[in-house]
Subunit: 334 residues, 3 copies
């Protein structure tokens, strides 16, 4: 499906007819060169502010490409791994993580956790104590020292040591939520499908109920969600601090974006749904996310207007909210 979407939507940006073949596409892409291609797709995405997760494989800054403002989302597992990599352990590890989280958060628009990849989303409603977290940190440091092969593996983005110790991860996620509440930042959580190093049933966002209920002052943004997007919508329905970000679903489900979005809107409050491209590596992914969302959200709302379900003015408000307004509010973009 993603291949069809590239051929349909990206080919015309390179001056080819829609649905040009993969061969024609790659040839044309080579002719234009990476810089021209990147500039066309990033400009074509029509994105004003890029919220960039900097904790995965580092990518070159967008700044030089003249395509809008770039703001940072800090991945909390990368922060913890960085502190550990500098040799901190025991009490120093917790104190170091706390300090570094606050330092990094001060310059960011949000924090993000990939705890689902590391040990699933059954984050308890009560944080582990510092004592428990410290002992978990010691287990982790010992295990990592004993097994250097564990370092630097995994598609979910760890560099150096990879934090997979559940108790320390749960402590970290609770700590991140506290930092977010203090600074008025949202906490993003990867949920639903992704790379093979997760287990699908362990990343059902419904598993987060106890956690989100325990942190009413932290806005929790559920990313991606598919195929559990209805469960994510349920959380947004019952908890005022939960937002559903359809993210990664859009470029992947392609022509099915309208149907999947409609399933989310069955129960999620309209002002608790946001778009993101989850683009990565190839500039096409940024463009596709934006284009597919606009196209299929537009078709869905046209149908609703035609059927008398919504007024044109409300539909416009809804589209602007999902596409930009709600994100501007929760990330405090100004």
């Amino acid at each position: 499906m993603v291949g069809l979407a590239v051929r349909r939507w990206c080919a015309p940006v390179l001056g080819l007819p829609a649905l040009a073949s993969a061969g024609e596409y790659l040839a044309r892409r080579g002719e234009l060169g990476w810089r021209e291609v990147t500039e066309r797709f990033l400009a074509g995405a029509g994105v004003g502010t890029w919220l960039v997760d900097t904790g995965f494989v580092p990518e070159p800054p967008l700044a030089g490409l003249g395509v809008g403002v770039e703001r940072e989302v800090v991945r909390v597992e990368a922060v913890a791994e960085g502190v550990a990599a500098e040799g901190e352990s025991g009490r120093g590890l917790l104190a170091g993580i706390r300090a570094e989280l606050r330092r990094r958060a001060a310059g960011a628009v949000g924090l993000k956790t990939v705890v689902g990849y590391r040990c699933g989303l059954r984050v308890p409603g009560v944080a582990p104590t510092d004592h428990e977290a410290q002992r978990a940190g010691e287990r982790w440091c010992r295990a990592t020292l004993a097994n250097p092969a564990q370092q630097a593996e995994g598609a979910s983005g760890a560099r150096g040591v990879r934090l997979t110790e559940p108790v320390l991860l749960h402590w970290l996620v609770h700590e991140a939520a506290l930092v977010c509440a203090e600074l008025g930042l949202p906490l993003q959580v990867h949920t639903g499908f992704g790379d093979p190093d997760l287990r699908l049933r362990e990343v059902d966002p419904a598993l987060l109920s106890d956690f989100v209920e325990s942190k009413p002052d932290t806005t929790v943004v559920l990313l991606h969600c598919w195929p559990y997007h209805r469960n994510a919508a349920y959380l947004a329905h019952v908890y005022g601090n939960v937002v559903v970000d359809i993210g990664l679903m859009v470029p992947f489900v392609g022509a099915r974006t309208g149907e999947v979005l409609a399933e989310v809107l069955e129960l999620a409050p309209f002002d608790a749904v946001v778009y993101s491209s989850d683009g990565r590596a190839l500039p096409e992914t940024h463009y596709l996310g934006a284009k597919l969302f606009r196209h299929h959200c537009g078709l869905l709302l046209d149908e609703w207007i035609a059927d008398g379900i919504i007024t044109a003015a409300d539909a416009e408000r809804l589209a602007h909210g999902i596409g930009a307004g709600t994100a501007a509010r929760i990330y405090q973009l100004t």
Copy 2:
């Protein structure tokens, strides 16, 4: 979505244009007064017989409003809590619950359990023994005496002490099923989404397989079900004693009612699906349930007729069955 549905369908009942703004709606509602508004919506719902769950926050009887017959559905947790509140414990508690269940059931059209809210739907296929249930009752009474703060809390409707002891709950649900089988009444089970005091994954109706299989002589009505409505349809497909009630889904999913109903009809036998409004607190909810069901079920069947999937006569039979006939049969309404 529910807000759009109110503006679309309820506004005209108050003499406003469809999709009038929330402000206009509230102003007009205030002008008309609660009695006029209630009478319009209840009459507009076109409901002949109201099956009312009397175990939640009590509401005034509908009788005075001249809008059809009212029949009672008895919530079994409220019965058990009532017996305990009168001081019964030990063997007296079980005997008291048994007697009161039968007494109340004799005047009712069905029993209902909210066990999913209290400890999830993993009800075992074999009932706890009286001895086990008695010991569980003692634990519950001691815990409640020790912690009076536990009393009267929870959105799922307990008044006074709140029964959350799993073993006693499982005993109670099995006992209720026996009473239903004796009297030819169905047992309603809350499944799927609801208030924040449930955990979504624990109310998947698929968890009820052992229980419904163990009670072939009791008709079990699965209420609400979303987002697990396909799982509910599966149970109705494999167990002849299971009925799917789309209930609460309808007013909430609004314009998506047709799609959700179609997902249920993928596998559920057509004569094992029933409509209910699950209306509560506001008379709009009763009207919306009825109106949305009629509108979207009608659109779905029109499409099926146009596509040659079903004859007009069979579609009519199907609509009447889901809307009224099947409920009249299983609740023995005459």
Copy 3:
């Protein structure tokens, strides 16, 4: 739904108008006689090669009916049960199963497991050792001898003793995967809905992640999948050795086939999806599977072509791939 589909699609094959009543249908069927009816439906299905699971209730061979080639899929639980029924136990049981699996596989186009029915799909990524499997085999033989009533029960197809011992089952499934990898055959796994002797939540294909990840050289075909077909699509997306077979879904969901197929195609690579009829007992089931798939896959692709989502040439390639080409490749049909 299946009843409507029979009336719509099968009635014309018997010379009746579409949507003839059930009474007319049965009368006409009786007039024509079983042989004529069977020949019409099997020929009408337009199937070139029949892949027949021979481990369930035996059916007469199709050969005499002149409707295409018949190839065998061997049910591995039936193989193990056959070896045990001949009195093998201890080390002899494992050796016997190994030998018989290879002997039967040599004449077949694939192996199949119904482990989901027997103990769910939580097959570990690491096979039990021979020692563990041998002890499990001894437990099973003792239990079966002690309880002859357990023999021959169950709708999932055991004849004689029924293998339900989890450790031996896990060993068997791993062994079957090795045989498949050696011979270049795919391993079919029943997932999703079926008869009442399974538990729905235990047959979610997502539970197979560890297993399919551990066997990259074995093509694993997930059969049926509904209502977890999106989870099956996810596995096909992340694991190159996974194929989704929409099988049993099609005749059951009937007019909803297009929607269910579209949900699968949201994430599954197009060349990792295959059709099968899962027909059984009545020849109508074979015809329905083929007819419904062709009709609704065609409608879906027509819509996609009209919306500019796919070219006509690619749509044709996709339909041929799901309908026959991909199966011909993975089952090495020549």
